[in-house]
Amino acid sequence: MKNILLLGILLIAYTVKAQKYFTKTGFTEFKASVEAFEPVEAKNNSTTVILDTENGEIASLLFIKAFNFRVALMQEHFNENYMDSNEHPKATFKGKLLDFNYKSIENSKTFKLQGVLTIKGKPKTIDTTATLSKNGENLILESNFNVSPSDFDIEIPNVVRKKIAETVDVNLSYELVKKS
């Protein structure tokens, strides 16, 4: 009896550990465009994201250099002059979906998302919402929020100030696959 109990507890503990959803090809984009000027926006298709469906904890990581701009020179300036991508190659997010309950998601459900976004080594608290929806076995997480270059000590010289928006829209869409 005790043996069975022990085995049972071990199994439960194991399954609790394994409830994670993951992707390496998450889509993150930002838009800092100002009307009447060249669009300042870029897409990243290699964001890694992990969601623990037991407690709603979420973490994501992306490489700054993996942001693709339509204009190559803009991408070069972004990395070299604004983001110091060699010194700070990664941006990370660590947060939690509040009152998360995996079972409560039937088709899709919106949760509050809180966490800390770290860019150029500078942390910034993010408070937004995220929508989770089921796609077969997979989970799709979508969200958006605004940040400002000054939150991360990103200096914008006077010459180009008019061409870069003061608030930057960040959109993300991650299709998470159950991690074995």
Binding site: F63, A72, N81, K90
Partner: protein, 288 residues
């Protein structure tokens, strides 16, 4: 026995618990995330000063260059330190395919028309520490005529240069490049070069040092191995400052070569630094 079982039971639970609490999600991602990161370009624009750099226009990028070299500073007041006798080159660069650029230009020095191609072989990345680029240029000298050279043939107007550009961005501030060069000059003016060297080998070296994010000091030098001692031309040394302002790059420079083409500046640099016989000039680069 019961006691022992209990102890094992507790230990297992504790073990599990420790496993679970150690499970930092971000740390787990760090180990999963991988990315072949390409190094940023070693140089801001297509030339270090006179020497071609490993920078190539991106696909569908269109660049417009104006390269200007005033006359020799040595001429003094007579030409207002070289305001007259200037050489101007207008050049268009376009990339149809990723990693390959084509260029057409015309410079006033010997009324030279030229076409060139530059292509990427390897990019510096976390996997490989160098940029390798191939560069080929063909020039037509439209200035010479039968009055100057009675036995002139069309082929005499042509000159060519082929370069392998090897660069590395050593740090945020410092980049360096080597450029083994082969030159073919069909016309040899024996009054100037003393001995005919149709085929020449040269080695170029150049570097940049960034003073700030948008300003750098650049220099390049080319040693020509195939030059006769009585040749009137010298090896070109060029020193300049790059100023980048978003879509433009300004290069302000001094050089002992007035031509801005290969092999023009490599084989036919008429000035001499030691005599103050140098040319002031600038390159303006605009990207569309």
């Amino acid at each position: 026995m019961i006691k022992i079982k209990n102890i094992i039971f507790i230990l297992t639970m504790v073990g599990n618990f420790i496993c679970f609490s150690q499970d930092d999600l971000l740390a787990e991602l760090e180990s999963e995330a991988e990315y072949t990161s390409y190094e940023l370009p070693a140089f801001k624009t297509m030339t270090i000063v006179n020497l071609q750099s490993t920078k190539i226009a991106a696909k569908k990028e269109f660049y417009f260059f104006v390269s200007h070299r005033f006359g020799s500073v040595k001429d003094g007041f007579e030409t207002l330190f070289g305001l007259d006798n200037a050489n101007t080159k207008i050049q268009f660069v376009y990339s149809f395919f990723e990693g390959v650029q084509f260029s057409l230009s015309r410079e006033s020095w010997r009324q030279t028309y030229s076409g060139s191609v530059k292509y990427n072989i390897v990019k510096q990345s976390s996997e490989f520490g160098l940029n390798l680029v191939g560069f080929h240029i063909a020039n037509i000298n439209a200035e010479i005529n039968e009055d100057l050279f009675p036995e002139l043939e069309t082929s005499d107007r042509w000159s060519f240069a082929h370069q392998l550009l090897i660069s590395r961005r050593f740090s945020e501030k410092f980049s360096f490049q080597l450029a083994p060069t082969y030159i073919r000059e069909n016309l040899q003016d024996l009054r100037a070069v003393a001995e005919a060297n149709y085929n020449q080998f040269a080695l170029g070296g150049g570097g940049r040092f960034k003073l700030s994010k948008r300003i750098s000091i650049n220099a390049d030098y080319v040693y020509n191995f195939s030059r006769d001692g009585n040749n009137i031309y010298n090896n070109p040394l060029s020193i300049g400052v790059d100023i980048e302002t978003g879509g433009h790059v300004f290069q302000i420079l001094f050089s002992n070569a007035q031509s801005t083409n290969e092999p023009g500046f490599i084989s036919n640099a008429g000035g001499d630094w030691s005599e103050g016989d140098i040319f002031f000039g600038f390159n303006i680069v605009r990207v569309f």
